[in-house]
């Protein structure tokens, strides 16, 4: 039995795509029209769904959504670093604290606590990373799906 169930829909959103941030409900989050104008491709996997957004600058953000509509993970890749304040939402402060307490390390950033995992790496022209909230992972879904 294959895990992949179906590719549901391919939407072309012109001006106001729905935009969700980590730890919030996919439907209740106000859109950020400035940040994202692009193509949204939604796929349903076993136990969760993914909204892949290809922004106008060709950067890609994936949102991982639980069956209850909660965004439990995000991932990104692009030429420059994404706006993590937007993507991480209320979890941004935790990330900010980790980013500012760096000692000696000059390179990728890894934050791993019980509440939040953030992995941010790469270089100019090729940044990539992911973030997820362990407590929001749907039942029987591994954190490894967030990639």
């Amino acid at each position: 039995m294959k895990k992949l169930l179906a590719v549901l829909l391919l939407l072309l959103l012109g001006s106001a795509p729905a935009w969700a941030v980590l730890g919030e409900h996919v439907a209740t989050v106000a859109s950020d029209q400035k940040y994202l104008r692009g193509e949204v491709r939604a796929t349903v996997q076993q136990g969760y769904s993914v909204q892949q957004i290809t922004a106008a600058d060709q950067s890609v953000v994936n949102e991982y959504v639980s069956p209850a509509g909660m965004v439990f993970g995000i991932s990104w890749r692009g030429t420059v670093m994404p706006n993590l304040q937007l993507l991480l939402g209320s979890y941004y402060a935790q990330f900010q604290q980790a980013a500012q307490s760096r000692v000696r390390r000059r390179g990728p950033l890894v934050l791993r606590t019980d509440q939040l995992v953030v992995e941010s790496g790469g270089h100019l022209r090729s940044f990539h990373g992911r973030a997820y909230v362990p407590s929001l992972l749907p039942r029987n879904v591994s954190a490894e799906v967030v990639r």
Partner: protein, 416 residues
């Protein structure tokens, strides 16, 4: 005809000589050299293509595995120059970025047609960022000169433009100080001609948030033509412009206080920069290649002198502990030897060996005075970031995009 041709050749030779003398005169005291060869055609000049580099703790005395060089910046077409020491040599970015606090020259701004100065926000993977205007200057490295090169003046105090919130949204530290950056600036000499390239030349609504225009202090992302973007100065040299070579000696297992080496410009252009037995690994369009470790392939792997350790995978995957004192570094009970295989886009593949030692111990060796470590590792889940330890003990060539290497290979590529 012959007479006229001879005259032209002599004129050319005189011009070359004059140019050489001008370069010499304009850089008095900075140690630069220019040598002209007595080539019969008079058209070839061989310049000093070797810039000394050093790994040390840097100007803030806080940088581990920081590779530093001096960069001479000149007001275009004049002998008004300033040599900035302690510029971090970064193969993970392109362009010269100098802290305004370290720059005494007044340079012309790059502006749009409305005379608005171009601003740049460079965010790094760790969330830190550099913000400041783009200005233009001549750049000298060893005996090589690139003319009218756009560079970034970081944290310029007099622009009256506050850092836009979208720039600081990375969450990290504004690195606009020597203490924050750990350097006086960055010498970005990676695989590309410009820092952004074609991605930033599209319509302004479709470009990455890298360059900004800020009329009335309200900053908007803008597209920028290639020529106005920050430039890897190497590809703008009149010669030795197809890439470069970083040559550093080996470091012993306990580390070293300083390590001295050479930045050599050009690949296969002079007697000191032949590829020799080095294997060429081409990269994808973004500068990445594949690293295979224990039969698992990790794409989006890369080499980066601006990363100060071998950042790869994570402690769970490797089965070794993270450090208790120095978070983010590996602290195995005893040194562990690993091997991994890098595979270029061209299919070239070879394994390499490396070691990871206990970082808490390394940082305490020699009363904490050591700056260079070839066995320092930390986590980077899902890929390999081959940082500074990779560079010790062999020659590493960096081929620049669109520039032809000695065997006909076109950049971007690495060779080692």
């Amino acid at each position: 005809m012959n007479l006229r041709k001879g005259l032209i050749i002599r004129l050319c030779f005189c011009l070359a000589l004059l140019t050489a003398l001008w370069v010499l005169a304009s850089c008095g005291g900075s140690g630069n050299q220019v040598n002209t060869t007595g080539n019969s055609s008079g058209s070839t000049t061989t310049v000093n293509n070797t810039q000394s580099i050093e790994v040390n703790l840097g100007p803030a005395n806080n940088y581990v595995n920081g590779l530093f060089a001096s960069v001479t910046i000149c007001v275009h077409g004049t002998s008004t120059c300033q040599t900035i020491p302690n510029m971090l040599v970064d193969t993970g970015s392109e362009g010269v970025r100098v802290l305004a606090s370290q720059l005494s020259l007044s340079l012309p701004a790059i502006t749009d047609s409305g005379n608005n100065p171009l601003q740049e926000c460079l965010g790094f993977a760790d969330g830190s960022f550099l913000w400041g205007p783009v200005e233009s200057a001549d750049i000298q490295l060893a005996g090589e000169t690139a003319l009218s090169v756009p560079l970034q003046v970081v944290a310029a105090p007099d622009t009256g433009i506050p850092v836009p919130s979208s720039c600081s949204s990375g969450g990290g530290v504004n690195q606009g100080t020597v203490a924050g950056l750990g350097a006086n600036g960055i010498l970005g000499i990676g695989n590309f001609r410009q820092d952004c390239g074609g991605a930033c030349t599209a319509a302004s609504s479709q470009v990455p948030a890298l360059y900004f225009l800020c009329p009335n202090s309200a900053c908007q992302v803008t597209s920028v033509p290639l020529a106005d973007q920050l430039q890897n100065p190497v590809w703008l040299f009149p010669q030795d412009n197809n890439g470069l070579l970083i040559s550093l000696p080996s470091v012993s297992a306990g580390g070293a206080q300083t390590v001295s080496g050479s930045l050599i410009f050009g690949i296969g252009t002079q007697s000191n920069n032949a590829l020799g037995s080095a294997q060429v690994y081409t990269t994808d369009a973004n500068g990445d290649f594949q690293t295979t470790f224990k039969n698992v392939a990790y794409s989006q792997s890369f080499i980066d002198s601006g990363s100060n350790a071998l950042y790869f995978l994570d402690s769970n995957t490797l089965g070794i502990p993270d450090c208790s004192d120095n978070t983010g570094f590996y602290c195995p009970g005893s040194t562990i030897n690993y091997s991994a295989t890098n595979t270029g886009l061209n299919g070239a593949a070879a394994s390499l060996s490396f070691s990871i030692a206990n970082a808490d111990s390394l940082f305490n060796t020699n009363n904490g005075n050591n700056a260079a470590f070839n066995n320092l590792g930390g986590d980077s889940p899902g890929n390999f970031d081959w940082g500074m330890p990779f560079f010790y003990g062999h020659n590493v060539f960096i081929g620049i995009e669109g520039q032809a290497g000695p065997t006909g290979v076109i950049g971007p590529y690495w060779a080692y």
